[in-house]
């Protein structure tokens, strides 16, 4: 509590910090909503500016970008089916169908509200129960991580229910792409086909922008032939600033699941927003009264995704502050920002730099509120994107994607990946191959292989060591049940038919 008071005291004594925080959130939203530019890139680009600031001021700026950047991704995800950041890709599944129904404003306001709820929940967790929560993260070893990844994979499998064969092909193409590059453990090159440029592997941002932005642009351009896109892009006359009571009642479980899942998953290093959003989406669909509406524009889908990916932010700050371990890619960059200021994150930070810890907590809490106010305030501006002709919007977005992907490593090779896989994505779409399993296969494939390898190393190649890990085993059983659930009635029927009499 003393730490929190120190933080509040700092903000009250230096109102300039609030302005910096608001600027950070605004900058983050802009970066988040432009496909290709991510929260991580925003923080990397602004870190040099923090050299001349005090530690507290610099951190307020970076946390503002973090919160704004992750939330801002929902804007283009909903309006044009291109996620601003990879973490918002799950939002596309229901956000864009809602926008196509003429409910873009409602979808946006619901998404922004869900971001606020998720962010605030994790902020409260960060403020009040950070130390005990961080102990959960310590209980997770390689097998537990692997089972969590497999749980994510089970969602991928469930997504393929409409066309299982092509869905599986899509997921395994993603997993295969994740193998490209030098294997981090053995040091051997795999699937590089002799190109040294591929040895570092394929960038997640380049791949996700290829399959979501470049492919989507090409597909929509093709759509100019088939129908008049302009006529379908309508918005409501009156945009609700907060969701109505009925929507809130229907989406209540999604808010709760997203907040809890997001915060816990955020604490687990390397798992990230996309996995959290996906697991929440799946869990919400499992308990929903209208599971068939998922993917067709249900508010529950947007809430699940946005609550979870924003709750991850606060969750990721918990191990950062209490253990000195980053929870995701952005907090890994934040650690760099802390170290530049001569601050070493970890358990001692609470004693040595209470003001810094308090500032981070208060900044994160306030950033969520500012994010909500700014996004609602600019809602009418955002919604106008829908009125811009796609013929003008797409080329400009493409240029932004190119800059974002190039700026990651200053490599033209990343742009080749963006373009080539964008074109491949177009042809895959032509062949009715769904894209989400491919992206999720790619994101999870990297983590599955790494954790599987580490776990096997730790157990000296004994796969049965898995049975000694109750948390891992429980999660695996849940995954199996989730995969089999749609087929359970048929399996039961087969068994019943086999029993004589």
């Amino acid at each position: 509590m003393n730490v929190l008071l120190e933080g509040f005291k700092f903000f009250l004594n230096d109102p300039y910090t609030i302005l910096i925080l608001i600027f950070g959130v605004f900058f983050g939203i802009i970066f988040g909503c432009i496909p290709g530019l991510t929260a991580t890139l925003g923080i990397v680009l602004l870190i040099p500016f923090t050299y001349v600031m005090s530690a507290e001021l610099g951190l307020a700026l970076l946390i503002g970008i973090y919160v704004g950047g992750i939330s801002g991704g929902l804007i283009t995800a909903i309006l044009i089916n291109i996620p601003g950041t990879p973490s918002s890709m799950v939002t596309c599944w229901d956000g864009y169908p809602m926008a196509k129904k003429g409910l873009a404003g409602s979808a946006l306001s619901l998404g922004v509200f869900a971001s606020l709820v998720g962010g605030t929940f994790s902020a409260l967790a960060l403020i009040f129960i950070a130390p005990p929560l961080s102990k959960i993260a310590l209980k997770f070893g390689s097998w537990e991580y692997l089972s969590l990844m497999l749980l994510g994979m089970s969602v991928v499998i469930m997504m393929t229910a409409d066309n299982p064969l092509k869905g599986f092909i899509s997921a395994f193409i993603g997993i295969a792409l994740a193998i490209v590059g030098i294997d981090t453990i053995s040091g051997v090159s795999r699937l590089t086909f002799g190109f040294w440029q591929l040895q570092a592997g394929l960038e997640v941002v380049a791949i996700s922008m290829a399959f979501f932005a470049v492919r989507e642009m090409l597909v929509q351009v093709k759509g100019f032939y088939l129908h008049s896109t302009i006529e379908q892009r309508t918005i409501e006359d009156k945009i609700p600033l907060i969701p109505d009571r009925e929507t809130l009642r229907n989406t209540g479980p999604a808010f709760l699941i997203g907040s809890v899942y997001g915060t816990i998953i955020g604490m687990l290093p390397g798992v990230g927003q996309t996995t959290a959003a996906m697991l929440t989406y799946n869990a919400t669909r499992q308990i929903s009264k209208r599971p068939d509406e998922f993917g067709k524009g249900t508010p529950e889908g947007i809430v699940a995704s946005e609550t979870a990916n924003n709750a991850v932010n606060g969750g990721a700050l918990i191990p950062l502050l209490t253990l000195g371990i980053p929870g995701d890619m952005v907090t890994a960059v934040l650690i760099g920002g802390l170290m530049i200021q001569g601050i070493r994150p970890g358990p001692l930070l609470f004693r040595t730099n209470p003001t810094v810890v308090g500032t981070i907590m208060v900044a994160y809490f306030l950033a969520n509120i500012f994010m909500y106010i700014l996004e609602l305030g600019f809602m009418r501006v955002f919604v106008k994107i829908i009125k811009v002709p796609l013929s003008i919007l797409f080329p400009i977005i493409l240029i932004c994607c190119i800059i974002g992907v190039y700026a990651l490593n200053n490599r033209v090779a990343d742009l080749w990946i963006l373009v080539i896989f964008g074109i491949i994505g177009y042809f895959l779409t032509e062949c009715d191959v769904p894209m989400p399993p491919l992206i999720l296969g790619f994101v999870l494939g990297q983590m599955v292989e790494r954790t599987f390898r580490t776990a096997m190393y730790a157990s000296a190649g004994d796969l049965l060591d898995f049975l000694n890990h109750p948390i891992a085993l429980s999660i695996l059983i849940i995954s199996v049940i989730l995969v089999l659930k749609p087929y359970l009635p048929n399996i039961v029927k087969i068994f019943k038919n086999q029993i004589p009499g």
Partner: protein, 174 residues
């Protein structure tokens, strides 16, 4: 809806890709980490497993497609007749041109070409503008050129000057 032609192309492409993967796996020396972590978790074993699954899946798709062809005595015509419209093809060529000449012509010039051409051809199609009306076409190109230059100057100011992002300048030096 079944589209036999597309499925046959897809199945064949994935089949060839998985064979490539298997060939590539042969380049990895056998035995690396096999003893410590088992074959499936080894860099070679994992690759072989994924390639084999893809090979299996593509084989199933090919067999299903060939069976459908046999039952329907040829291709099934579907609504998905347009496979690669002119505008999409031009976009792909432009993108490949952009990346391959980025270091030569630089970001500004390449982006200008990409923006003006894509905006013009997309707009013509989206709004059903008469291409034969030369005056209208010229005014559109002028409009998009101005819009592109303004957008690119704004982007350059923000990213290069303010945020210190390096973008290739090319032989023209900007």
């Amino acid at each position: 809806m079944v589209n036999i032609k597309n499925d046959l192309i897809l199945g064949s492409a994935i089949f060839i890709f998985s064979l490539f993967m298997l060939t590539e796996s042969k380049k990895i020396p056998s035995g690396i980490l096999d003893e410590q972590i088992g074959f499936v978790a080894s860099p070679k074993g994992y690759l072989i497993v994924i390639a084999s699954v893809l090979l299996l899946l593509s084989s199933i798709l090919l067999l299903k497609t060939i069976r459908a062809m046999y039952l329907n005595k040829g291709w099934i015509k579907t609504s998905k007749e347009i496979f690669l419209p002119k505008e999409v093809f031009i976009s792909m060529i432009l993108l490949l041109f952009f990346v391959s000449t980025l270091n030569i012509f630089g970001f500004f010039l390449n982006s200008f070409i990409l923006l003006v051409i894509t905006m013009t051809i997309y707009y013509l199609k989206e709004k059903n503008v008469d291409v034969n009306n030369k005056k209208q076409l010229a005014s559109l190109i002028l409009k998009f050129s101005i819009l592109s230059i303004i957008s690119l100057i704004a982007i350059q100011q923000v990213f290069v000057r303010l945020l210190n992002v390096y973008l290739p300048t090319g032989i023209l030096g900007f």
